[in-house]
Symmetry: C2
Subunit: 620 residues, 2 copies
């Protein structure tokens, strides 16, 4: 590993030479870093808990990177240029699961480091977190980087456990950073990794460890999403690969008109990938985990809903179709969720459970459900757990379970005379591993490369517990904004009711964002779902193109969302500055009077809509 | 269906405008059709049987299409030009399974028909063969064709049963052709379809039906391959889609280093797709049906072979890998083949069999094997048969069976102390339906379009029982040769030993060509298999590109094979013509003498190497 042994294809060669464009802030040899206002967690109710857990890294300011020419703002605090004098030593580690574009974070970071001082050193940890604990490093060099620019996978350095959490792990990480004299450690991954990064940053500060910790949002799932993060590296590519395959299957279904394809998609707990793929390829039906959970749909409800669609289509002589499911669906079905909780509890307490004796150890209700499930699902529910104790979603073939339940229900309806169509035939698919190693799209290559550059600037500035951010991504690269946000500002706290009046509170964490059922991408689905269900308006985005028309298309999610939060924060600052400028001491009293009354009204409105009673209405 | 309801993506739109290049022979408004020598079946032993079954269509001449400017050859028989006076009525039907590029055969045929006489009519049969039997047609128009140029799937017209064989079916087809006054019927499909086309042509001639039948080689499997057919429409695209996914998985495996991926690939009885994908993506291991069958490998042998590789890799600390299998593997394993034969016999005689009672109805030997197999495979072996009585290969999860057997064997070796590595983890995949509807590659678009044009010229010439051919495909389009070959010349006859001295003989058919274990593609695999097994020399061809570098790459199989058979036939004719020219009556006697003695020696050599004793050594 590390030594590029791979034999590159023509296209891989071409891609190594692709030059990702840089946003204006990163183009020059000098970059100005502007500190903005201090940040708060989105939910005021969580702020206290978070600030107690992260006393040293909570409330840090948002930072913006700018090309130094635009010096209209005098807050400039520093510039990172080729003149940087003390060489930096930076470590980088792949923590999360492989996601297309991950390599470009490393190559972007490397390019920025070397551009600013050729004596800067980038150490890659070989074998992910385990390599970090064992201090197994590889110096990243131009020779190494050359082969991996714009390539898929995490194989330049590899990855292992996606966890850096236990006391032992944190201590080992600190020992590594100190032994290697790292100025900064860059962690590449999703929600879990960035939560770990925040914890590491806090601990390092508390224990006077010199190393600063920077996180970079890289996960196919697209669920590390908040005010500061618009999308994650890899989501674009992964959705495009799956959509290509889904569309091929839609066209296959339409050509032979005899199969219903049940396709389950990777994406862990949330359904962002499934929603995006639906918007790209227009299958006949999709069931999102968030819908099921909000509407408290049972397995029976879902089965019925699918059967109703199949029956309606049969009435227009259609016996084919494509149905998408997210792999996280299972955890969103209330009765299965409850069953899983019981099984998890048993497994956690090392109770000796197997398929035969499990029923007797469950509550009567869970036991009845377990007995109802087919053997293959029973086995899969008992498979080894993930490192965080949850089920291995990828291993549970929900698509087969649903296809089987639908088959049974259609047979019942046929006997009852309510379904009069031809025999129902299902083919099941799981699309997961076949996309994570894909060559990254132009978007992911460019986004990841920019994030790598940003991570360098945050590190050079000595910022700690920040995530690198690039925003306004739906616009052209020339309008992208670069900066950093404290990870603690992206955290929230979960609360569970454990009994009447007894609630339990979780650790602050960067939680996966669920699909927003009031958001624009979902609205787009809701508007079209009816047409897609009855007519076959399949759309084939085709294989990812790297040149020519369509090669710079972004996800539908990114394109329809209205996300430029950081831009608006900056716009607000401009208004505040303007008011200050227009109402300087010495201005006419009537101007001051109007300003006071206007601002009083603004603050009143804000305090009302920020009150807890309103919080349920907010998009975050 | 037929009304383009689909919503095209950006890339689909771009592709509708792609102009497939035409080989020189097809470029002008006039095309010259040259009749060559009459053809024979490759195996002289089969010739008699075939000629008896096809008395009216066996032994027809090979035909070549040429641009009329090159009139050095005086054999010109006719020209199809814009001047063509009587309008043609042609029918087209998708018979085989969907394969990328199929639409372009129709659009190419349409373009050629309309270019030569705007009154020519192309009728598409809606719903494949069933549409043909029911005379359900749709006139192909520019409006219709515009949406489907260079698009995947068969959804412009659809398909149903891939069979046109029974007396009833043949009679219905003839009735349709007569009722619709078709001058020609073009069948699109693989080996089965083209065998049916030959039968239809023979029957139509025998019954004085005016309609001529033309076949076009379209199948993802790549197994309709012989002296006249170098590759099939769809093989290129399908292999590229699978290779993209396989390579993504290779890179995934290398990134996390903890899984062995067992990937089964579509391709029916033969392993051409699996071989090509191996050559494109360099997985660690592949097992071809043809190897298993030639070496008479048992399930145990295959398991052992895989385990030996896993063990050797574990010794160098490698716990990941990718193993490819063709879906046809199962039929090549001798003991499973025998079991399947017994089950098929029982099913054919409508014996009431189920999983519980089957064992008692099998021979002791087959019964023991059946009992040994896991439940899921047992169920799959008993699923409904294909229309030709064979098992549904796509439904039998051999990859899961092998992964399970390997797991058991590795556990055994671990206990025995011979395997000392980490736990073996397998993830299984089947890649099938997700490629058949793909946007066709530039190669498939161009090849299919050319075949459509060729089909028109054969039809216009009134040729019957021919397959459209385009050869010398490994070269640039400017060097492609166009023509037609009688389907009967591609046929062979199967013989089985049914007991001592008793042999049974099958009907003549265009049989699927197996992977040639002495051929160049296999040789390339054999040369590299060792390196790929131990080192991880994964290569990622990436998603199919339609523009830019790599967009015109062809399959490795096509590139390394030395296939220009038709070109050599033409070259031979030139030599024979030259001899005739140089030894005209009146030439010096010594010239005649040398010619005679040289030609005598040539014919002697040829008669020796054409003798049955030598036949085993020939590539065909």
């Amino acid at each position: 590993m590390g030594v590029p042994l791979v034999e590159l294809s023509t296209l891989q060669h071409v891609r190594t030479a692709y030059k990702a464009r840089l946003p204006p802030a990163l183009q020059g040899s000098h970059v100005e870093l502007v500190r903005g206002d201090s940040t708060v967690a989105a939910d005021p109710a969580d702020a206290l808990v978070i600030s107690r857990s992260f006393p040293l890294t909570y409330g840090l300011p948002l930072v913006h990177l700018k090309a130094p020419s635009g010096t209209e703002n005098g807050n400039s605090q520093s510039e990172n240029g080729v003149s940087q004098s003390v060489p930096l030593r930076v470590g980088v580690v792949f923590c999360g699961r492989q996601s297309p574009g991950g390599h470009n974070v490393v190559t972007g970071l490397f390019d920025a480091l070397k551009a600013h001082n050729t004596s800067n050193v980038l150490l890659g940890f070989v074998g992910g977190t385990e390599g970090l604990f064992a201090q197994k490093t590889l110096e990243v060099t131009e020779d190494l980087v050359r082969t991996y620019r714009n390539q898929g996978g995490f194989d330049m350095l590899g990855r292992t456990k996606d966890q850096l959490r236990s006391l032992q792990q944190v201590n080992d990480a600190r020992a590594a950073c100190e032994a290697l004299k790292l100025d900064a450690l860059v962690l590449i991954g999703g929600c879990g990794t960035n939560t770990d990064a925040a914890q590491l940053a806090e601990t390092f500060t508390a224990t006077n460890c010199h190393t600063k910790v920077i996180g970079v949002p890289v996960t196919i799932d697209g669920d590390l999403k908040n005010q500061f993060i618009e999308t994650d590296v890899g989501f674009d590519t992964t959705c495009k690969v799956y959509s290509q395959l889904i569309s091929n299957i839609c066209i296959d279904a339409l050509s032979a008109e005899k199969y219903y394809y049940f396709i389950r998609l990777m994406g862990r707990r949330t359904s962002h990938i499934t929603l995006e793929c639906t918007l790209q390829s227009h299958p006949n039906m999709v069931i999102l985990g968030e819908e099921v959970s909000t509407q408290k749909m049972t397995l029976f409800d879902i089965t019925k809903q699918i059967c109703d669609v199949i029956q309606a289509r049969a009435e227009t002589e259609k016996y084919h179709g494509v149905i998408l499911l997210p792999e996280g669906l299972i955890e969103n079905i209330p009765e299965i969720h409850a069953l899983l909780q019981e099984i998890n509890d048993l497994l956690k307490h090392d109770v000796d459970v197997d398929i035969l004796n499990l029923s007797s150890k469950l509550s009567p209700w869970a036991s009845a459900l377990f007995d109802f499930l087919p053997l293959f699902i029973k086995k899969q529910l008992l498979l080894d757990r993930e490192s965080d104790g949850s089920v291995q979603l990828s291993q549970i073939e929900m698509e087969k379970l649903l296809a089987q339940l639908v088959d049974t229900e259609i047979t019942r309806r046929t006997k009852a005379g309510t379904y009069k169509g031809k025999k129902f035939n299902a083919i099941c698919h799981f699309f997961g591993y076949q996309a994570r190693g894909s060559l990254p799209s132009n978007f992911d290559s460019t986004y990841a490369n920019a994030l790598g550059h940003v991570a360098f600037h945050l590190a050079a500035e000595g910022l700690n517990g920040y995530m690198a951010t690039v925003t306004n991504l739906k616009e052209d690269v020339t309008n992208w904004r670069c900066g950093g946000a404290p990870i603690t500002a992206m955290m929230s706290v979960k609360r569970w009711l454990r009994g009447p009046g007894v609630s339990q509170i979780g650790k602050p964490a960067v939680h996966p964002a669920k699909v927003d059922l009031k958001g624009k991408p979902y609205e787009l689905l809701a508007q079209n779902a009816g047409r897609w269900q009855t007519d076959d308006l399949y759309c084939n985005p085709g294989p990812i193109q790297f040149e020519g028309p369509g090669s710079d298309i972004k996800t539908v999610t990114l394109s329809v969302e209205d996300q430029d939060y950081v831009g608006r924060i900056q716009e607000l600052q401009k208004y505040l500055d303007q008011v200050k400028e227009m109402v300087k001491p010495g201005c006419p009293p009537e101007v001051l009077k109007v300003a006071l009354s206007s601002m009083a009204s603004v603050t009143e409105v804000l305090s009302v809509i920020s009150a807890p009673a309103y919080r349920g209405l907010r998009p975050f």
